[in-house]
């Protein structure tokens, strides 16, 4: 139940991450007003005590701090500045907290625009920790924004995150998320390669997460995703296309800052191949199947070679060595 004195919050975008985050904010005693493009996704939140809004504008009217967790920069722009967007319910002093991964440039553009047009604050606050962390309330959140805004957002964040760190001004949270995604986006295909090498050389792949635990090759990705990859447990915790979108953003950020990112560049294209095989909506860890025996079959069956009789090449006439 909502407790007295708790900041009224809004939440827009109750997807795989947004819904469990909203549930944790409700559990923490905050009144939360919610909106989602497809309505059925908000039902569990309504059951837990959330209030329904008919539009992002209505969320903004009801809440002091409006959280967003949508797909990309274009979707953020749509819910904030589009018809019936947040801006139509805006009031100076209110704050938008954007948990979507949009890249730093979009965060700066959107944040400055909202300040200019409505006097509202902006905190870019992308998250890491996946669906598991969102449900457990143990996410890590990278925040970018004015110090005062970030501090106003902080109290509620203890219900959804284990860590909430201000990384700098608007955009710095997004840049930190890019750093995070470089490692995630390159590690998952790398683990796939590792499993393939082990398997092809007779090592029991199932033993690897345990034996590598605590060593230099250990990682949360190995322990959580790696084990699922080995078991082919592809229950969706995220979508491959989201990761590829992030990698595209990273490449753009690197290009703008003149930072060479060869491994990321190559990994992005490996992911794109995975998408080409019809996996855009799959959990990204399923990329491991691309590295398994028999996974690479030609789309078109090659024809058997045509036997062409080899014609002897006429030899040039021998030139006699001039006798000395």
């Amino acid at each position: 139940m909502a407790k007295k004195g708790k900041t009224p919050l809004g939440f827009i975008g109750l997807g795989l991450m947004g819904l469990p985050m909203t549930l944790n904010l409700l559990k923490g005693g905050h009144p939360v007003t919610v909106w989602n493009r497809s309505r059925e996704k908000i039902l569990p939140a309504l059951q837990a005590g959330a209030k329904e809004a008919a539009s992002p504008a209505e969320v903004a009217r009801a809440a002091d701090i409006i959280h967003l967790c949508v797909f990309d920069g274009a979707s953020v722009e749509e819910v904030v500045f589009g018809p019936d967007g947040v801006i139509e319910g805006a009031k100076p002093g209110k704050i938008v907290v954007d948990h979507s991964t949009t890249g730093p440039e979009a965060a700066r553009d959107l944040g400055l625009r909202l300040r200019r047009e409505a006097g509202m604050g902006w905190v870019d606050a992308p998250v890491t920790g996946g669906v598991v962390g969102a449900k457990a309330g143990t996410l890590a959140i990278f925040a970018g924004g004015a110090e005062a805004d970030v501090e106003r957002v902080r109290p509620a964040m203890k219900h959804v995150a284990r860590r909430f760190v201000r990384m700098g001004d608007i955009g710095a949270g997004q840049t930190t998320k890019m750093c995070n995604q470089i490692v995630v986006g390159c590690t998952i295909p790398m683990l796939s390669e590792m499993f393939a090498l082990a398997r092809d050389n007779g090592v029991d792949v199932g033993l690897l997460p345990d034996v590598l635990e605590g060593g230099f090759a250990d990682s949360t990705i190995l322990q959580l995703h790696g084990r699922r990859m080995i078991k082919h447990d592809f229950a969706r915790q995220g979508q491959a296309k989201t990761l590829v979108k992030d990698l595209d953003l990273i490449t753009a950020v690197g290009k703008a800052s003149g930072t060479p990112l060869p491994i990321t560049g190559l990994a992005t294209q490996l992911w794109r191949l995975f998408l080409l095989h019809g996996n855009a909506e799959q959990d990204g860890i399923a990329i491991v199947t691309m590295y398994e025996k028999g996974a690479r079959k030609p789309a078109v069956k090659p024809r058997p070679p045509v036997r062409v009789p080899i014609r002897p090449v006429p030899k040039p006439p021998l030139r006699k060595k001039p006798s000395t």
Partner: protein, 294 residues
């Protein structure tokens, strides 16, 4: 027979290309953002210059453009002072900029509405090709528009071909750049190994350039690559612009370009080494052993 032609954009490519039009007997008016360049061009080739793209375009049957990128292109073609505003109905814009296929389609549609012709016609062959008038021109657009334009383009082209509807020229140029990126990296690696193992590289190239490894890059660049001579040719900055276009188009088309993406990042390293203006063959500079102090 001489035509009335305007040329917009007198960079390292446009400057000599517009000159070839004069030499071929056409009546040429030029526009350049930096007016001093236009003045220098008039001094060298005769012809006239104008103060805006619209003024340059006015009264000409053909308007050629060759500028930096999509945004530059929109700025000289669209708007009140842009070329489209000055062109007479029935005139044709031939764009030699390497740009996205999207902007080509956009301009083609806009031209159609205004009763103008449009051809996207990016070129290959570099500065030397432009100066010697032996460029390869890859064209997209309508056949009826292309027919009359071809003889004019031929003033600076050895090869000119219509490849399909609007955007096809740009797509072909992308294919060209993708092939170059992979080829130059392969050549760099081959030469690096040849050098490190003490082979006589001139002999190596003499032999393998008669076989399956032969390429334009090998024949025209191996010597300068070995001499670490890169202060000429097609700049890395421009190559990265082009590869960016390729990678964007591939994303749209759902195609994976692993080597192109990797080489694009290698070029970022070359930029960091100070090679923004170096020729694309400078990929080999990344592979050189670091000189250690004795």
């Amino acid at each position: 027979m001489g035509e009335k032609v305007a040329f917009i954009g007198l960079g390292v490519m446009g400057f000599p290309m517009a000159g070839h039009l004069v030499k071929a007997g056409h009546e040429v008016t030029v526009y350049n953002r930096n007016a001093a360049k236009a003045e220098a061009w008039v001094q060298k080739f005769g012809g006239r210059k104008a103060d805006t793209p619209a003024a340059a375009a006015k009264g000409n049957k053909f308007v050629m453009s060759c500028v930096g990128n999509d945004d530059d292109l929109r700025s000289v073609i669209l708007g009140a002072a842009g070329a489209f505003a000055g062109m007479d109905k029935g005139a044709t814009l031939v764009d030699h900029t390497t740009a996205s296929a999207d902007v080509a389609r956009e301009l083609a549609a806009d031209a159609e509405k205004k009763g103008l012709g449009f051809l996207d016609a990016p070129v290959s062959g570099g500065q030397a090709g432009a100066e010697n008038g032996v460029l390869t021109v890859m064209v997209g657009g309508k056949e009826t528009t292309y027919g009359p334009a071809e003889p004019v383009i031929k003033a600076y082209a050895r090869m000119c071909k219509l490849l399909g509807p609007a955007g096809s020229g740009q797509l072909t140029k992308m294919v060209n750049q993708i092939c170059i990126a992979g080829t130059v990296q392969g050549l760099s690696e081959g030469l690096a190994l040849a050098r490190a193992t003490g082979l006589d590289i001139a002999s190596v190239v003499e032999v393998i350039s008669k076989g399956a490894a032969q390429s334009w890059q090998m024949e025209n660049r191996y010597k300068t690559m070995l001499e670490s001579k890169f202060d000429f040719g097609f700049a890395v900055d421009w190559m990265r612009k082009d590869l960016g276009i390729c990678l964007n188009e591939a994303r749209r088309a759902g195609v994976t370009l692993p080597v192109t993406a990797l080489v694009d990042q290698f070029y970022a390293e070359v930029q960091q080494m100070g090679g923004s203006r170096w020729d694309t063959s400078s990929l080999i500079a990344r592979l050189e052993a670091k000189k250690t102090k004795q």
